[in-house]
Symmetry: C2
Amino acid sequence: MGGRTRRSPVGVVDLARDLGVSTATVSRALNNSASVRPELAERIRAYAESRGYVPNRLARGLSASTTRAFVGFVIPYVDTPAYSAVAAECARLLSRDGTHMILTITGNDPERELQQLRELVASRIAGLIISPSTGILAESRQILSGLPVVELHRACGIRAPGVFSDDEQVMTDGVLHLAGLGHTDIAYLGTPRELSNGATRWRGICRGMERAGLDPGRMPVRLLEPTRENARIGAEELLATPGRPSALLVSGGALSVGAAEAVHGSGRRIPDDLSLVVYGDPAWFVLSDPPLTTIQVSYSGLARKAAELLSRVLDADPDLSQGPHLVAPELRLAGSTGPPGTARP
Amino acid sequence: MGGRTRRSPVGVVDLARDLGVSTATVSRALNNSASVRPELAERIRAYAESRGYVPNRLARGLSASTTRAFVGFVIPYVDTPAYSAVAAECARLLSRDGTHMILTITGNDPERELQQLRELVASRIAGLIISPSTGILAESRQILSGLPVVELHRACGIRAPGVFSDDEQVMTDGVLHLAGLGHTDIAYLGTPRELSNGATRWRGICRGMERAGLDPGRMPVRLLEPTRENARIGAEELLATPGRPSALLVSGGALSVGAAEAVHGSGRRIPDDLSLVVYGDPAWFVLSDPPLTTIQVSYSGLARKAAELLSRVLDADPDLSQGPHLVAPELRLAGSTGPPGTARP
DNA sequence: GGTAGCAATGTAAAGCTTTACATTCACGAG
DNA sequence: CTCGTGAATGTAAAGCTTTACATTGCTACC
């Protein structure tokens, strides 16, 4: 037998018994089903309210075999606003539909990701928003292809709509901005090309270089998993490159922080010794002097789009395009970029 | 009837049928119950594995009336690492026990908080970690008192263990540090005293002032909800106070960012014109020149403690103390504090 | 007036697992 | 040989809701 402890919560059977009607009628009344006499329905609703009735989500989900009670939010990291701010806003938007968001952090570990996906399926989630890990397993992909899924930030080649920042163009703009100031030795610190957003940004970079008449092949580049520590090391290496780059472009989550740290530690003055463009969150940059030239994307915009897409996927909306849905980021010029300094060896 | 769509997932009945045993035996074998012949148990487990069986969490929860399948994580904001980092780490730790964490953002709105608590109860969560909203409703408190609860960051007077940063002492230290440098006009920007952590910090501040022979009553103070915008305005007002404070102490989440912004905008040089101590996240401070004197607490330490306490509450551990469990923060001296400048009017 | 048809309500099954209680079987003791 | 004991397994109920289908009772029309 199930729970022995017969807890206080009232159920439909209690309401039905007390009111002398059947559970079916109670259920229909509470779900605003048409076929119940309005006066009776009202009485039932009032009584349910007075008894503080809350329907058991588990039972409802079990009965319906799938409800919107739960959706998953599966992301590799959460220590950067690109994830934490989007997660928060999604949770807020989804809760308005009475949907709970289950937050799951994979740590970018494909094994953990797979296990967590399995568990989410076991919990009969209605669907999920996922930012896949770098080396996502085929098995995970298969699970995903059987669920209503929305991709976020990163694509992994499944048939699903996705929400992404439109990075290609803005990265090109960033490069052209630097080139326009006279920089020829531009370094790039970004995320790996295995990540779809890493690939997109890299395309944007290359296009910018080519348009500026520079050779992307000779560009000092580090493509790293976006952790702060990686970024610090990568940026230090880039700054020490023989060509002594006069400009540094950084994209991707926690990379910005680590890079800023490294630049700071290098003793180079900005923008005299080094022009710096970072992709990321405005909150960090208030402390910087001079203010940073940044690439910014609206996290709430991404979240709204993600929540909307998920809702449409759950509704099996036939008009929904499976491809990427792009949110445009913005290049904000500020004091951290300028003409190449004269103080170079 | 329930779901018509008879989806693929195999259940215990399928396994039982195929193996010619009863569902009870299957269930027992899978749950490593003793009373099943080892050889048979092994066969059942192997078959379950081969069929990719995953138990339905909803049904299990329904049957057990309460499991560890779901716990809630109810917080007012998530845009600061004090919440986002702790949330992420808790999610990670809990998932190791196969527990899903449902993230819920109240926006510090008591009404929303109540509604979300109701929904969580309806989902038969096993327990929750909560950082209560400022004006938490009596009804919410009542719901909480019937659940395994752990408080985080903020207390709300319910009988439950809580995890808090031990702020009183460190705030005293901060004030004494400034006073020791010769500051007598110290301003404070913090969170409201209605918040338990706001109250704690304020006590620490007062104690520090008194020990330094200064009058807390004459201290310029702004106690505000921790949003960046509030902080910017509050800091500007403090800096414009007739006494022209020579030192500013800022505590609390997003307040640090907004305050830094305001200080920056004020044109005051640090630490010559103004000594600055901020409470918060190291990630922001890498960009600052000079590096900031900060008060830092280990988010992963808080998360570990919170997850551990929740686990113990769920186990109804009788040795568990209901009071606060403190994690000690650290005052890190750096370049943003120094003797009061001479350049004051 | 009889019946078709509709509206309102009831009955019961399904969704999936766990587990108390019942049953079976084998073996040892009397 | 019988019966008790205990281990292994089966049966069925409980957990709570939703909903297909059955039933009831009425209106309205021919």
